[in-house]
Structure formats: C-alpha cells, structure tokens
C-alpha cells in the first residue's frame, strides 16, 4: 500500500492532459456518476442506516443501550481478545518475516503460502476446526473434560479462533516490505559488530515501523470485529462469552433493533478510526520515503 502511494507521488507531475488520450466529456461524466453512484449505494447508504436506526428512539435511549451491563462486558471481552491475539500475531509476524526475508532456504514460497492460508478459509470453518479439536466430542475433548479445562464455549476458544482469522495480517504486511528493503543495512550493522538484537532494534525496526503499525491496525480491526469464527466457538453466553459483534447479533435476534444498531455504531466507529489511522500511516510512510530520496527538497 505504501508503495502505491509512493507511485502516485512519483507520477503526479507527469500527468499531462492530451485530448486523444482521454475520453469525451460525456463519457467521463457518465463513468464518474456510475462509480460514485455505486459507492454511494453500497457504502454510504448502509452507514446512514446504522446511524438512523441507532438514534431512532432518541439520544438518551442510545446512551442507555450503550451503558447496558451486557454491552460493557462484551466490550471488555473484545478488548481482552484483541489484547491477547494482536501481540501474539505481532510476535509471529516479526519472527516469520525475519526468517523469510533475511535468509534463503528451500520451500520459502510454500511457507509464505501456508502463512496466507487462514485468509482463504471461511470464518465458520475457522471456528469449526477448534470445535473438532477441543469440543466435548473433539479429539482432545475427553482429556480436557477430565482435567476440567474449558476451551470451547469459553474465552480461550474465542481467542484461538481470533488468532487464527487474524493470523496473516502482520506477516503479509512485513514480508514484502522487508524483501523490498534488502539486507544491506543489516549486513553493515553485523559487520560493525552489532549482535542480532541490536541489529533488529536499531536497524530493522526503524525501517519497518510504518509497515508494522499498518499490519497491527488491520489485525486489530479484524480481531475486534470478527463474527463468524467467534460465533462458532463462543456458545453465546450473555455477559460471559459475548464479544461486541455477538452482542449485536443477540440484540438483533431479540428484535431489540435500536439497541443492536446502537452497539453496532461502536463497531462502525472502530471501522472509521481504522480507516483514518490506516491513511495516516500511509501518508507518514510516503513522507518518509520522499524524505529519504535524494532531491526531496524540491518536492
């Protein structure tokens, strides 16, 4: 993403309008109208619907829906789940991208494909695999039952399913970035006597910080918003194993629409914050690239 922003900056000065390379005005207007109409229909209308439904019974009802005890426990659980799964995936993302980009070994492409795998698995199946493993009738179910360990229909299951669906986010952001940056700076650091940790903290990390943050933002958004996988393993116990998206579903299925949309509006806010942060990071990364290039003063 950062690369495409850089590309935009680089070509901005070159765009010269030549009549034979552009479409007639009426086609341009038509295409722009179709594109904006499509986006308005599919993006703006749902957003407006959430807000309108959430505030249907007035602002005080909205606040009451948000201060509900079960809503708060859902918010707490969501924060806990994201708080555990994002750091673990961050650790994995950094370790795997170091192993993959700093060394040459057999089967590298295959390993990258394996890391991407969770993205192509349906959320429902992502939950199902843990039920088959840890559920009461699962492979380890009996043993877990004997030792009184609860994973499915309990918080560990929710965390496991969330880690699975958000697994590739940070790694897939870091691997292409570190591949593009090459290893010269790390070689220089090691040659100058730095050890592995010093090289990582002082050379690699400053180079990849924006990509890392980008991955964390996307990973966190998905971890907080995941519905399908978590729905399979949660058991929907009110106040105990309900994350915010599951709480929205319960309220909705109880025909408590206004409250459902009120809680949903928190998740929509999360989506907006994610988008804003994501673009801020893209902008910062592009600025860093522009500054590090020779002749940047002329920009």
């Amino acid at each position: 993403m950062a690369g495409s922003v850089g590309g935009k900056l680089g070509t901005a000065g070159r765009t010269v309008h030549r009549p034979f390379l552009s479409e007639p005005l009426w086609i341009r207007v038509l295409l722009t109208t179709v594109a904006l109409g499509f986006l308005a229909f599919f993006l703006a209308l749902p957003i407006a619907t959430v807000l309108a439904q959430a505030l249907k019974k007035g602002f005080s009802f909205y606040l009451r829906a948000l201060s509900d005890k079960d809503a708060w426990s859902a918010i707490r659980l969501t924060l806990l789940v994201a708080g555990v799964s994002v750091p673990l995936n961050l650790l994995f993302g950094v370790a795997s991208s170091w192993a993959i980009t700093k060394f040459d070994f057999w089967g590298k492409k295959f390993l990258i494909t394996l890391i991407d795998l969770p993205f192509s698995v349906s959320p429902v199946i992502s939950g199902l695999i843990f039920v088959l493993l840890f559920g009461a009738q699962g492979r380890l179910g009996e043993w877990l039952g004997d030792h009184n360990i609860h994973i499915i229909f309990s918080i560990p299951g929710i965390i496991l399913a969330t880690i699975f669906v958000t697994f590739p986010f940070i790694a897939r952001e870091l691997i292409p970035l570190m591949q593009a940056q090459g290893n010269e700076e790390e070689y220089a650091a090691v040659t100058l006597g730095a050890n592995g940790w010093q090289t990582f903290w002082r050379v690699t990390l400053p180079n990849i910080k924006w990509g890392l943050l980008y991955g964390v933002i996307l990973c966190n958004a998905r971890a907080m918003g995941e519905f399908g996988a978590v729905s399979v393993v949660s058991g929907h116990i009110r106040g105990l194993t309900n994350t915010i998206p599951l709480h929205v579903e319960i309220l909705y299925n109880e025909y408590n629409f206004t409250a459902a949309f009120a809680v949903a509006s928190i998740l929509m806010l999360l989506a907006f914050v994610t988008l804003v942060l994501k673009h801020w990071v893209e902008w910062r990364a592009a600025k860093d690239i522009a500054l590090s290039e020779p002749g940047a003063e002329t920009l």
Binding site: A35, A95, F103, F105, S122, L133
Partner: protein, 298 residues
C-alpha cells in the same frame, strides 16, 4: 529439517567440498543471526494455530467414514446450499468486476472534488465488522427499508432471498477489484496509448486492445479474490439471507446449523468440500498473480 546435507561421507574428500556442499544445503549461509530462533518459532506457531487444527478437518472427515461423507455431501439440502453459495458468489463477483473496474478507472484517471476521500472510503467494507454490515443491509433492503420499500413495490423480494444474499456479497467483495486494478492502471505507460492513438486507433479500440489486456490479470485476480471471499462469507449474509433450507441457506450457514444440531459428521464433510474449493481458489490466485507479474515485465 534444515540440517546440512553432506555431499560425501568419504574421509578423502578434497578441501573444496565445502563449496560443492553449499548447493545441497536446504539453507544458504547468511551472516545474519537468528535463523534458528525465528524459523523455529514460525514453524511452531504456524503448526499450532493453523496446520494442526486445519488438518484435523480432513482427519475427522475420514474418521467419520466415506459413506457418511458421501451421504452428507450429496444430500439435496447440501447440494442446494452449495449451488446457492456458488451461484450468488459468482454473480456478485461479476458485478464487482464490472463496477470495480469503473471505480478504479475513475479514481485513477479522472479528477473530481473529494476524490481522495472517496478513494480512502473504498476500504470501508474491509474495516467494517461483517455483523454490522449484515444488520445494516437487512434494515436497508427489508420491506420497510429505504431501498427495500421501492424494490418490494416493484415485486422484487430484496431481503431474505438470493437477491439479498447477492447484495451482501457485493458489499463485502467491493474493495478487491478496485484495489487490485488501481495500481496496474496507475503504472500503465501512456506511451503505449499514444502509439496506438497515433496509429489511428480510437479510444474504445485503445481500451479494448491495449489497456484491457494489460489489466486483465489484475482484474481476474481481484474478481477471483472477491469470489473466494464471498464463498466463505458468513456474518454479512446470515441476517439478510432468511436461512430457509433448500432456498436461502448458504453453505457456511449449513455448516453452522449442522454443528448446532451436533451433526459433526455432516458439518465436517461440508467444511471439507469448502476447504478443498478454497485451496483450489488459492492455487488459481497464485497462478493468476504469476501471470500478472509476467505481464508487468513485458
């Protein structure tokens, strides 16, 4: 797994054997430290979270027996669900390919006020939790909804129908085509178009014969991604689908229903089929992306 493989066990090996040895190594020598630690953790975490749980599906499918598997997969209800999932996913991917191309084109080539805002906004379906999308679209397209009101008046049952499912799948697949086509359109050299124009081609011919072949791999990749995502989608679809068996029950929902009725064998069988399809799609995507890279190099 990454041990050095010795090329010859003879004690008389000449000193230069270490050079030959390099070729047979699974890992080439690097001056940088940390391979053992990072690769060890990577493989451990990958196996624990992804590989072992995922392969469990196939072991379970086998352990329930072939007869069970066949019965679950060929039952009319499963076949109807698979047909519906594939049909609506395909249709929504096609619609996204068409409109996504137009959106990408307009965002790259034309200027209008608020363009950067609109461009940022395209990612919204990625950022919005699917459950929120699901209830918002249901409210919008149900009989009393802002859009549903008009569609129902026209005799179109826009919620709790395949129509509604397709709408939800269009929503979640929307960014894929735009985001894969955009960078390729941006990098398109205007020289080629100039050459075509100077040879007398009109705008439509240039689009069809110069631009479209160049962006075709990206367009297909984006469409395949949207299709693949739509096949497995659950959260945004369940609310608007209606979930009537044989009619508006998608495959992921059927897995969920079977699981809730403790029909583990059927749930696993359907999940196994869906997983195989996902892997085939992943393979197709890799081939498509390789084709795209080849195209860029020409």
């Amino acid at each position: 797994m990454f041990l050095k493989r010795q090329s010859g066990g003879e004690l008389t090996a000449p000193p230069c054997v270490c050079k030959v040895d390099m070729k047979f190594q699974l890992k080439q020598y690097s001056a940088l430290p940390g391979f053992g630690l990072t690769m060890g953790f990577t493989l451990f975490y990958l196996s624990l979270i992804v590989l072992i749980p995922l392969s469990g599906i196939f072991f379970s499918a086998f352990s329930f027996g072939w007869g069970h598997f066949y019965e679950a997969v060929t039952s009319p209800r499963t076949l109807a669900a698979l047909r519906l999932s594939f049909g609506t996913s395909f249709l929504s991917a096609l619609i996204n390919a068409f409109f996504g191309l137009i959106v990408a084109w307009v965002l790259v080539r034309y200027e209008f006020p608020g363009k950067r805002f609109v461009d940022a906004f395209v990612d919204f379906p990625f950022a919005l939790p699917t459950a929120v999308a699901g209830i918002a679209l249901t409210a919008l397209y149900s009989q009393n909804g802002w859009v549903g009101k008009h569609l129902y008046a026209l005799g179109i049952k826009s919620a709790y129908s395949p129509f509604g499912i397709t709408i939800a799948l269009i929503f979640i697949g929307l960014p894929f085509v735009v985001r894969t086509v955009e960078p390729v359109l941006q990098n398109l050299e205007s020289e080629v178009e100039e050459a075509a124009a100077s040879l007398g081609a009109n705008r439509w011919q240039i689009f069809l014969k110069v631009i479209l072949p160049t962006i075709a791999p990206a367009l297909l990749t984006g469409t395949a991604m949207a299709f693949s995502r739509a096949l497995g989608e659950y959260g945004s679809v369940v609310f608007i689908a209606g979930n009537t068996p044989m009619k508006t029950e998608i495959a992921p929902l059927l897995i969920m229903v079977q699981l809730e009725q403790y029909e583990y064998a059927s749930a696993t069988a359907i999940a196994g089929i869906m997983l195989v399809v996902s892997f085939v799609m992943l393979l197709c995507l890799n081939v498509l992306q390789a084709w795209g890279r080849q195209n860029e190099n020409i």
